[in-house]
Amino acid sequence: MTEQGEALLAPALEMRGITKRYPGVVANDHIDLDVRPGEIHALLGENGAGKTTLMNVLYGLAKPDEGEILLDGRSVKIASPSDAIVRGIDMVHQHFMLVPVLTVAENILLGEETMANPVFLDRKRARSQIIDLGRRFGFEIDPDEKVGSLSVGWQQRVEILKALYRHAKILVLDEPTAVLTPQETKEIFTVLRRLAAEGHSIIFISHKLYEVLEIADRITVIRRGRVVGERLPSETNEDDLAELMVGREVQLTVDRGESHPAGAVLKVEGLHVRDDRGNEMVRGVDLEVRAGEILGIAGVAGNGQDELVEAIIGLRKPHAGTVTLDGADVTGHTPRQMNEARVAYVPADRHRFGLILSFPLSDNLVLTTYYRSPYARGIMRDEAAIRREAEATVAKYDIRTPSATVKAGTLSGGNQQKAVVAREFSADLALLVLDQPTRGLDVGSIEFIHKQAIAKRDAGTAILLVSAELDEILEMSDRIGVMYRGEIVRVLDGPTADKNEVGILMATGGATQPAHEAEVSA
């Protein structure tokens, strides 16, 4: 198929003039999109640009107000996900639609079961079908494994298999790499290329520019519900795409200037921390963050970063070691005590820890201060003061919201994170702990948060930045500590650190294995 040349092929899918209005917003404004057979078509746009709405229209989860969908040149109506599946359209959602307690086979079968008779499943036949399907795309999968025990990378493969099992011809992947390590991303790209080579059409939704350039045959950029441009990867670059996406020139790298560190603010000595199951996740960490500098902690997720941060911030009691703040022992203090000692914290999971999604934005903005003046008088809240503060903050941090009283859960991801940042950054701080502060955000929001962090640093705050994104660590940090199996194995100078060196330290811990050996075994 692909040999005939893409330009000659009729589109497998055409969306014409798709318009979807929600109260107060036009999520999709006459969007046109066409995808050819065997093509990987990237859909690029910021959070809230309308990518997801467009795909929901395609998948029957939202009904368009205007426009039509054509499959192989024929107009079709898609009213529900089952309609879409029947027509060969399937979607791998950003948050996987897998049932963790069911096995791989059960997840794949669900809704499209292979039956031995009208009542019972034919589990034997289903297993061999799944194994064969996996092999066709280059991986061995155990159909009897519980999905919950698989890594995210493998779960994603299960999602893709699920779609292929349903004979999907058009596969939509919503931010497929958001949760993957660089290695897993490479592996999934190989799978996607193989799919395209077999004639499947892939719509790849992303806001990671370099990935889009790497994998896509064609790129459509959406901004505020409209198509603002279409590019071929060969004739564009990251800066061009970022500008199209955001609508203005974007600084992809932060201009961080020089740091002027003063005395140590946070001192951690011999810290040992256990996780909920009693495993020792932090094993003797010593570190120091000085006023006016950013210490970045690099490491593959799950090497004890979460427990380290939680122990510092008071969410978890260390079982040995001390945490000192400005010379005072604060080991085992509560989060509120830490907060009152001018420590702020931006948690990695804004939905679970950063915000109370069902509370109004205004209450979320005073979550750390609601109990004291001016937001409370005695045991009574001062609603007016809270609202005034919220309105000022919304304006100052440019949080896009209809009003300060809407529920935090209704905001887009970028604006939710802005709200967390606004709350945590607004006080005069001694120490700021940032745990994955830009995870899942678009370039515009990332730029904003990075700038705010640099400004805090220059104002003399000590910043501890934990991130699984190596690029973010390298861009932001004045010093970089590499965390491996619960220890800080090396501290490097930020501006001169080499990406490969840090990467190898992250993967091997450095001291235990020579680098070349590690690469061979990996």
């Binding site: 998948y59 029957g60 989860l61 939202a62 009904k63 009213a79 529900s80 996900p81 089952s82 599946i85 979607m91 959602h93 996987f96 639609m97 897998l98 049932v99 963790p100 307690v101 069911l102 059960e106 079968l109 669900l110 809704g111 499209e112 079961e113 039956m115 009542v119 019972f120 499943l121 589990r123 699920k162 349903r166």
Partner: protein, 359 residues
């Protein structure tokens, strides 16, 4: 008595333990049909819970459904009995036409109440605990009121199902004979329990319906994205589950007894829920848990009228009889406290589902 055994029984404290074990070994086989009889409503109630909760709908109204079904079955029997004056008790389980219709009526009422619960908790997305509570309170009040009106006339009931008598050579088998006695020396509803348990276990884990049920109870959105109608499946499961609670009610007023008393379920609907939790939301597990609770019921009764001899007996009889009556409930609390937290409910249990689809 064997000299070794009597020596063992004589040792302080240790002897007590031996006496207890000896008492249990001596008591449980003859009491086994009673255990199964006590377990039957618990198992049926627990199956009701399993089917509903596996699809994500909590039903604490099992107690109420049982009670309403017990009453309805009984009253339909009362009404129909005079119309079939010559309906002699048949040799097969004592089945008569009025009794059959009474069971059908019990199931019909269970279905109606389940439909109400389904409508409230699935369509209206009301709090499922509240909906269940309403059912319990309403069933208790309405049945008690109607019963006072009717009981004045001391009507003739339609009787009850009779138990099957397994042949002596079967129950007399060494070691396992009492198990046959336990499961076969029963009326039709109780005897069907073991079939229902095994059937549902296979159904839940091997059939399409079972797979979809489990998926909907864990992650309804995932189920919907593969084209499963979450709402319809939940309705269907809640309705089917109601039939089991209805059968439990029919059992109480038409097999265990032949009459209706106010509040005769006596918390069995709630112990059934405990059995479901202890049994980790599986039919076989719930069956095991229900048997455990029922064993303590039977034991409490045995101790009341035939306490063991010797030291142990002295201790046991000095404890007020009310304690032994309360024993199964106490055991329920203890077992539940030990198991809760380790028994993980379906992830979407109790959460109303809002359809995502196009509007």
């Amino acid at each position: 008595m064997d000299p070794i055994i009597s020596t063992l029984y004589g040792i302080p404290l240790v002897g007590l333990a031996f006496q207890l074990v000896g008492y249990l070994i001596a008591t449980i086989p003859p009491a086994s049909p009673i255990i199964m009889a006590a377990a039957t409503p618990l198992v049926l109630g627990a199956l009701c819970g399993v089917i509903g909760e596996r699809s994500g709908v909590v039903n604490i109204g099992i107690e109420g459904i049982m009670l309403a079904s017990a009453f309805t079955g009984w009253i339909v029997g009362v009404v129909l009995a005079p119309m079939f004056p010559d309906a002699a008790s048949t040799p097969v389980f004592g089945i008569t036409i009025p009794l059959l219709f009474a069971v059908l009526a019990a199931l019909g009422v269970a279905l109606l109440i389940s439909l109400l619960h389904a409508w409230l908790s699935i369509s209206l997305r009301a709090d499922q605990i509240i909906s269940g509570t309403i059912i319990n309170i309403a069933a208790f009040g309405v049945t008690a009121y109607l019963n006072t009106l009717i009981a004045k006339q001391s009507p003739q009931s339609a009787g009850a199902f009779t138990a099957f008598n397994p042949p002596d050579w079967l129950t007399g088998l060494p070691v396992v004979g009492w198990l046959f006695d336990m499961f076969l020396h029963q009326g039709p509803i109780s005897m069907s329990v073991i079939v229902l348990v095994v059937g549902l276990q296979i159904w839940l884990f091997r059939s399409r319906w079972g797979l979809r049920t489990r998926a909907v109870g864990e992650h309804p959105k995932a189920a919907e994205t593969v084209g499963i109608d979450v709402i319809r499946l939940r309705y269907r499961n809640v309705l089917i589950s109601g039939l089991f609670a209805g059968l439990a009610g029919a059992y109480l007023s038409m097999e265990a007894t032949n009459s209706f008393q106010d509040g005769m379920t006596a918390g069995r609907g709630f112990i059934a829920l405990a059995a479901m939790i202890v049994g980790r939301w599986t039919p076989i597990g719930a069956f095991g848990a229900a048997l455990l609770f029922a064993t303590f019921t039977a034991l409490g009764q045995s101790i009341n009228f035939a306490p063991p001899a010797g030291q142990l007996g002295d201790i046991m009889t000095s404890v007020p009889a009310q304690f032994w009556d309360a024993l199964p409930y106490i055991v329920t609390i203890i077992v539940l406290a030990g198991v809760v937290g380790r028994s993980i409910p379906p992830a979407a249990d109790g959460q109303p589902y809002e359809r995502e689809s196009a509007t």
